[in-house]
Symmetry: C2
Subunit: 468 residues, 2 copies
């Protein structure tokens, strides 16, 4: 019994509060700090250019036959790597219960392993700073963007491709002097990935952290300034930053949390979505050429191949397939204040590759060209409100690109648009719901509520690139 | 602008608190009330017997060839209904990264549609009462058990089988005078169902509710008394009740919520689970006879067929397949107090049919016979601690059966066992974590954290059938 008593006494002192109530204030202070202890924002462009010069990056398109280690399987036509790892391009047959297009087939990226997207943070002068990396990804229009501290597939950090170690990875995979501030599985693009999710982690280092080449410490406020520029902060950084969203708790909302969760549950349950893998060779409506797989009407995206040469990447030269979307996307939240409290109009979107029917996306998330052939009745809701918006209503606008490791020049205009009752009614159409930033922050602690495009926009709130 | 101003004023009054802070107290009051305004607990057995007599139930085993509307498909050997609805029995090929058995094939129930399990509650004399139903399910060992108000597949309430209306369903599917207290998607048995989940709903009626035959109003405390009896409260009722778990908020815990979520995220990410559907005809290790599909070693479960005749069911006679597990399961939480706060030892369980690799299960969830052939080193952790437990440590014990609409005589002993450092250390082995009831309550607001067996045990906390 002595042992037990001692253990209980020890355990009593080991109990801890369930919530870190200081975190919202610490994040807010970092967001309000625009002169950090590390790199100055006005020096950022020069620093990034210096990193660009320090390495020789070259990316060129190649025919599929020049892919090294990749090939189309005899049996299925699927595009796979000989190691069986990394990812594969397969076919997907999707049926949905309603909407203008209820059945289609398409190429899809299958990458079942869960990667880590992680940002290491540390206090300097009492302010949280984020360790960001200048990282080349072959699909980025400008190749080099600001990425999280760590952006690693499991193949990366278990060295399936025999490359160099992933820097700082131990902070995310090993216990030690650290405090975990956020850690959840979040989906990636459901239109291009089959059930893909990554761990989104924010970890506070409690000891010394050496600063490596290609890395810099920035406050949230500095990152917010960079988020107002086109194509600087990469998708992986944006999604992790969204998980740091930490508004002051306690505000009321149009819907209680239980009502919001019930609405979401009903949306999940009411959609019949079936997504079955099919051989890539057999998919209807797509044709394979020497260097591209294209939709017959030229819509949506193409599958292409590139060769990459880079000095600071884990391996020095490689070839790989990429998805190249057609057209510039438009991705926007309509926002309103109700009773003084800002709300965002979210959309329960069906995407064929989601793990579970729907996730909350922005009000608008479309590539307008893909809908040009549809009749006015089938035109996506709210799209015209965004395309025709009075510039005075635009609270935020920047062009960002999606994951440059899988997507080539996948750019979208991201916007926050102040709205009114006529454009975005208090009682929105089915499938839409008003959500406060704080409610989004709660949802982001859990898996698969908020899609990656909405997370990009929410990262602008985290960093106060936009204030509602 | 007038319109806008009016709308904003209206909206201000429409804002509401995000949390219903009175709910835990209201649930606790119902749990402490053992004499309800409806049926008295001491009259319950007679009432249930009267309901049993009021209908003629007969369930008998039949060969597969006597199934009506069901057949094995030529192409795959899958067992399907001619309507394409209800469910089908198919094959599943599972591979997991570690454990004593890393690859297997098995029959699995595929039922993609999301059903509703819902309990209507209403205040009488200031105390919440739950509207429960005496419902026959062919697989229940005693046929008639206490079910939720509504237990309906989508086929049920959209009338795929042309039966009678589902009573009270409008309270769950239609807006009206009601308040939603809980509504989340929760998984069912991952070893027998492929990615099956149901909406678990608790809805408070704000208007009059007529009391139908086969239904009764009970307080949580009364249901707690019935949960201490064997095979009275059915699985569907138990899982919904677990979602009413509402301990007083604010207690500390061994792990902060962020740490707990991070631990869970790591468990989800570290398991490589692949579950692929295969034709039922081809599964290795199973053999199909005239009336059963059995595992070659006689382990796990059999697929069987039954004919059912019932008076109060939606249709009067039907035949269907059922899964019949072999042996009595043992399902238990080991519990300890740390610093005065009760904790349950949860296990991140891999089950082939889960939507996402692992969910939190009880400490122990096994059918001992299925493990008799394994060496001591592969004996499930904590199983012997439960089997050999000193009776004075047993805080709760009852036999409950799983969903009688799909499973035949699927019984398990459910236990809470008070434990100590030797049996269940403060620092448990990998895959196990200490969780407070309040943390479970938070997780149960979201999808797919807590498996159905753990939810049965948690329903005993909701109803104070056991106090820790």
């Amino acid at each position: 019994m002595t042992v037990t008593t001692t253990t209980v006494d020890a355990a009593r002192t080991m109990l801890r509060p369930r919530e870190d109530t200081r975190l919202p204030e610490r994040m807010a202070r970092s967001a309000l700090t625009t002169d950090g202890a590390g790199l100055r924002t006005e020096d950022f462009t020069d620093w990034l250019e210096a990193r660009r010069r320090a390495h020789a990056f070259r990316v060129g398109r190649i025919p599929f036959s020049d892919l090294e280690g990749w090939s189309f399987l005899e049996s299925t036509g699927n595009l796979v790597h000989r190691s069986g790892r990394f990812f594969s391009v397969e076919g997907l047959h999707v049926t949905v219960g309603d909407g203008p297009i209820r059945e289609w087939q398409q190429p899809i990226i299958k990458q079942p392993e869960v990667g880590i997207l992680g940002i290491l943070v540390k206090e300097f002068d009492g302010v949280l700073h984020f360790l960001m990396q200048a990282k080349m990804e072959p699909g980025n229009p400008n190749l080099l963007q600001l990425s999280p501290t760590v952006q690693a597939t499991r193949s990366n950090y278990t060295k399936a491709h025999k490359g160099a170690d992933v820097k700082y990875i131990d902070h995310f995979t090993q216990p030690g002097r650290r405090r975990i501030l956020a850690d959840s599985l979040q989906s990636e693009h459901g239109s291009w990935f089959l059930r893909k999710s990554n761990r989104n982690m924010i970890v506070e280092a409690l000891g010394e952290v050496p600063l490596d080449d290609d890395f810099c410490w920035l406050t949230l406020g500095q990152i917010g300034e960079l988020l107002r520029r086109d194509n600087v902060v990469n998708m992986d950084a944006r999604t992790v930053l969204s998980c740091a969203l930490a508004p002051e708790p306690g505000t009321d909302a149009l819907h209680s949390d239980t009502e919001l969760l019930s609405w979401f549950t009903a949306e999940r349950a009411r959609h019949d979505v079936s997504a079955e893998r099919v051989p890539l060779r057999d998919i209807r409506g797509w044709k394979r050429g020497h260097g591209t797989i294209d939709h017959e009407a030229g819509r949506y995206f193409s599958v292409v191949a590139v060769a990459v040469e880079a000095g600071n990447r884990e391996v020095a030269r490689w070839t790989q397939p990429l998805f190249e979307p057609h057209g510039l996307g438009v991705t926007a939240f309509l926002t309103r204040r109700f009773g003084g409290v800002p709300h965002l109009l979210a959309h329960a979107r069906v995407e064929g590759g989601f793990a579970d029917t729907v996730e909350l996306g922005p009000t608008v998330q479309y590539t307008p060209e893909n809908y040009a052939h549809l009749t006015a009745a089938h035109r996506p809701p709210f799209l015209d409100a965004v395309l025709d918006a009075d510039p005075s209503r635009i609270r935020y606008e920047a062009v960002h690109s999606e994951e440059g490791g899988r997507f080539l020049n996948a750019e979208s205009r991201y916007l926050f648009l102040e709205s009114d009752e006529q454009e975005a009614p208090l009682d929105p159409p089915p499938g839409y719901v008003w959500v406060t930033p704080e409610q989004f922050a709660r949802l982001l602690r859990h898996n698969h509520y908020v899609n990656v495009q909405a997370r990009t926009l929410l990262s602008c709130l985290t960093s106060q690139a936009v204030r509602l």
